[in-house]
């Protein structure tokens, strides 16, 4: 076995002409890919480019419609994840499949041979996590762990099978910068042992920093194979998007106006055992300002959004004020009538109903605030479909929403286009206060830059904007002020210009000056 051979020898994994059809739609179309032993190989692409489909075929979750997979030079059929593991392929998914109520060791045991004792698994897991610099307590309950730690469980679980190829799907999208650095060290260690890593990401800087080679996918086809270190972020993005990504630009800071949104000592108990409680949150957002709330997922962002939007009103009426008016106990439509607009994180089933048309989804958010335009017939509330359709058309044009047909189902749009519609739906009202949760999560680069520009323009036009985001690049692009949420607490807002990445990282890890707790993120 020649695990340490150079890239000139037989590739560990080759893919030739791999195609996957869903009906008549080709999610992957004749993809070629070579992964040499001992390399970190990046798989780049926008959302919907076919990355996940490709990887699912490699891991045996999906079966290819055509094409060959060659493992160490031999043609193989991978019919299930179990067969993939036997070959020596391990996978760490973007969305973890862990049971929160079980311990780390129990979660690992679930994916292994049931005959192995739990004690043996804990020992092995502990040894592995030590060897690869992935500190992990096998007896801890998953519910108590941070996202970064949960990811380590998945990695250790994959490593226990002693794989030759590890596939990581967007591993850093949920990590703090410090946690990401630690992950990279682990990856380098794996590479030095002759193992290969297939690294899926859309973060160009990261790919340039750690990957040896990159394959770029676009619309299911390979558009480039390169050495990312020889490229610039711009050229990589061009391969991904097909055109230059528009740069978000902001000329000078707008003059700040009246207070749009004010939160004073907002505390909300956790609704479910796994939710985060909000503790004494305060913030002030003026017209013309974009306040970004940074933080690692699961630190109270969605709870904060629920409280600010009024989907779950709070008991203290004065804790939240919109344009000076106490609204804590007011529902979401009452707040909309005061001029507020909201964009939740989850597109399907929260911001939009996938099985309904775009015009229906427009009515969804604005049935009350645009009652005059969209409804007639008084108490009977007859829906004026023509008015709603023309408004939906206007929004699609303005936000450049690409769709098939005049009024397609929301579920048929790609993530980026649907998100453009959802943001456009609020912008169309000219809200004086806009609260957005993860505006570009899972959205392609082109759509993301358009959405960010729209947020900046809205603030410049005199609205108060709150952007809750995990994406630090995004935060520095749009924010005038930044606050960090951690464990349900919000740090004081600071001007974006005066904050460094390191400092944000520390705040995200839960280290405030007021109570310095070293390693607080995984204390339990």
């Amino acid at each position: 076995m020649t695990l340490s051979a150079g890239p000139t020898s037989v590739p560990l994994l080759s893919v030739r002409g791999l195609t996957k059809l869903f009906g008549s739609f080709a999610a992957c179309n004749g993809v070629d890919l070579d992964i040499a032993p001992g390399e970190i190989h990046a798989l780049l692409g926008e959302n919907g480019a076919g990355k996940s489909t490709l990887v699912k075929m490699l891991f045996g979750v999906l079966q290819p419609s055509a094409g060959d997979i060659l493992w160490e030079g031999r043609s193989v059929a991978i019919n299930s994840p179990g067969e993939a593991r036997q070959l020596g392929i391990g996978m760490v998914f973007q969305h973890f499949s862990l049971f929160e109520a079980l311990t780390v060791a129990e979660n690992i045991a679930l994916s292994l041979d049931p005959k192995i004792s739990l004690a043996k698994i804990s020992d092995e897991a502990a040894a592995l996590s030590k060897a690869y610099g992935l500190p992990l307590d096998p007896n801890a309950h998953v519910a108590d762990l941070s996202v970064g730690e949960r990811q380590r469980i998945e990695i250790v679980r994959a490593l226990l099978q002693n794989p030759k190829l590890i596939i990581l799907d967007e591993p850093t999208s949920v990590l703090t910068p410090q946690e990401a650095d630690r992950l990279f060290e682990t990856l380098f260690k794996l590479r030095s042992e002759g193992r290969s890593v297939l690294y899926i990401s859309h973060r160009l800087e990261e790919v340039q920093r750690i990957c040896d080679r990159a394959t770029v996918l676009r619309h299911g086809k390979v558009t480039g194979a390169c050495d990312p270190k020889q490229e610039t972020p711009g050229s990589l993005a061009r391969m991904m998007v097909g055109s230059e990504v528009a740069q978000v630009h902001r000329d000078g800071s707008a003059a700040l106006g009246d207070v749009g949104l004010e939160v004073r000592n907002l505390s909300v108990p956790a609704r479910t055992p796994f939710a985060m409680s909000l503790k004494n949150i305060s913030m002030t957002v003026r017209a013309g300002e974009v306040l970004a709330v940074a933080g690692v997922a699961g630190n109270g962002q969605s709870e904060l959004f629920d409280a600010l939007s009024g989907e779950f009103p709070v008991t203290d009426d004065a804790a939240i004020r919109i344009r000076g008016k106490a609204v804590g106990r007011l529902g979401i439509n009452g707040r909309r009538l005061l001029g507020a607009g909201f964009v939740p994180e989850e597109r399907h089933g929260h911001a939009a109903v996938s099985a309904m048309s775009l015009s229906d989804n427009l009515l969804l958010a604005r049935s009350r605030s645009d009652k005059r335009a969209f409804l007639s017939g008084g108490a009977a509330s007859i829906i004026r479909y023509d008015a709603i359709r023309s408004a939906a058309r206007r929004i699609c044009e303005k936000m450049d929403v690409r769709k098939s047909g005049d009024d397609p189902l929301a579920g048929s749009l790609s993530g980026g286009n649907l998100q453009k519609f959802i943001v456009g739906r609020e912008l169309d009202r000219q809200p004086t206060v806009l609260i957005v949760n993860q505006p570009t999560w899972g959205v392609d680069a082109g759509a993301a830059s358009r959405i960010r520009q729209a947020l900046i323009d809205l603030a410049k036009a005199g609205s108060a904007v709150v952007v809750i985001s995990q994406d630090l690049d995004e935060i520095f692009e749009v924010a005038t002020n930044i606050a960090v949420i951690s464990e349900g607490r919000l740090s004081a807002a600071e001007p974006a210009g005066s904050l460094t990445l390191e400092r944000i990282g520390l705040l995200m890890g839960g280290i405030h000056e007021s109570h310095p707790v070293p390693e607080a993120a995984h204390a339990h």
Binding site: F25, A365, S381, I382
Partner: protein, 362 residues
């Protein structure tokens, strides 16, 4: 080998229209096989089951009588199901509606006033709605499963009716039969045409179906039902309350079941007795799904299911087979409707073990 349901890339419009008809055709084919296994001529049996009832005026009236409660209950259930609330207890709401609606004629047999009939109908609707309010209350308060509670309440309602007509409501001059006095003429739902027995319940059913179709298609309330049915979270974002929707849909379907109940007792039976329904409340579930939860479709499917009841009775008389056959037909029909609908959205893929040798090199 494993069997997989794979989502189709696009849904054929042709087949979504044809699907209920296809399901009907399959039901007929398998019904024919059943008759053949029973030793009867399949064609002759099917003819007396499905065709004969349609040939005479009086039996068309019977068809309307049987279809009316199915449609009334079915459209209410359709709204309920669209909003993701699973009221399975329409049979119980039907029974309670029949009881509360009958309070006036049973306790005041000598009250002769044109007011009595409208009051009975309103009280029947109220009774059905309140009875459906019990699972609604339990669901909104304690998060209980309305499928279980509404179903269990059916048996309570039926036993309560049984106790009433054997006990306090029994007609003293009724030779000890467990039934109430016959209703006074003012309390009987009048017939629509002079040619037969079909009464106003059928008109109520058509009006209710058209009204609910209008609501679902053109009114914000109908939109609210659809949104909350598909995603409670999106409904909350829209400012709609899932809790209020539980109440709305349960009370609405309960009221319509109650109206069907009192109409049946007042129009078709003329008094209250232990058995007032051949299972309309349960059959209406099939009606609702066969009509694709669309109130206009439910008018058609209600007539089809009513025909299986009539056919069962006719087949019992003419070819001497048990009227349980109509239950079998209803079951077949529901099965084929659901499977045809599934196959419109999914294709079946068989995976055979086609693993090529792939040992790991050590």
């Amino acid at each position: 080998m494993r069997i997989e349901l794979q989502k189709r890339a696009r849904v054929s419009t042709l087949f979504s229209i044809v699907s209920p008809i296809l399901a009907l055709a399959l039901t007929l084919v398998f019904g024919g096989i059943m008759f053949w296994l029973l030793g009867k001529s399949p064609l002759g049996a099917l003819h007396s089951f499905f065709i004969e009832p349609l040939l005479e005026v009086w039996s068309l009236h019977e068809l309307a009588i049987k279809a009316a409660p199915l449609i009334l209950i079915g459209v209410g259930l359709a709204v309920c199901y669209r909003s993701n609330n699973w009221n399975i207890g329409a049979e119980g709401q039907f029974t309670i509606g029949a009881i509360t609606g009958s309070i006036l004629p049973v306790l005041n047999p000598d009250w002769h006033s044109p007011l009595i009939l409208p009051l009975m109908l309103v009280m029947g609707m109220l009774g059905g709605a309140l009875y459906a309010g019990i699972p609604a209350l339990l669901k909104t308060r304690f998060n209980t499963n309305e499928i279980l509670t509404s179903l269990m309440l059916v048996y309570i309602a039926q036993l309560f009716l049984d106790w009433l007509v054997r006990g306090p409501w029994r007609d003293p001059q009724g030779y000890n039969f467990p039934q109430t006095k016959s209703f006074q003429i003012e309390a009987v739902l009048p017939e629509i045409l002079a040619s037969g027995r079909a009464h106003w319940a059928f008109i109520f059913a058509i009006v209710a179906a058209i009204a609910l179709w209008f609501m679902m298609r053109f009114m914000l309330k109908g939109f609210e039902v659809s949104v909350l049915g598909q995603s409670e979270r999106a409904g909350r974002f829209a400012g709609f309350s899932a809790r209020k929707m539980v109440w709305f849909s349960m009370l609405l379907s309960g009221a319509l079941a109650g109206l069907a109940g009192i109409s049946e007792v007042s129009g078709s039976i003329g008094h209250v007795q232990p058995s007032i329904s051949p299972g309309y409340g349960f059959t209406a579930i099939i009606v609702a799904f066969l009509g694709r939860l669309n109130p206009l479709g439910i008018i058609a499917s209600g007539l089809v299911l009513a025909l299986t009841y009539l056919g069962g009775e006719a087949a019992q008389l003419s070819i001497g087979i048990s009227d349980k056959v109509s239950r079998v037909f209803q079951g077949l029909l529901l099965f084929f409707v659901l499977s045809c609908d599934t196959l419109i959205h999914y294709r079946i893929r068989l995976h055979f073990g086609r693993t090529r040798p792939a040992e790991v090199a050590g």
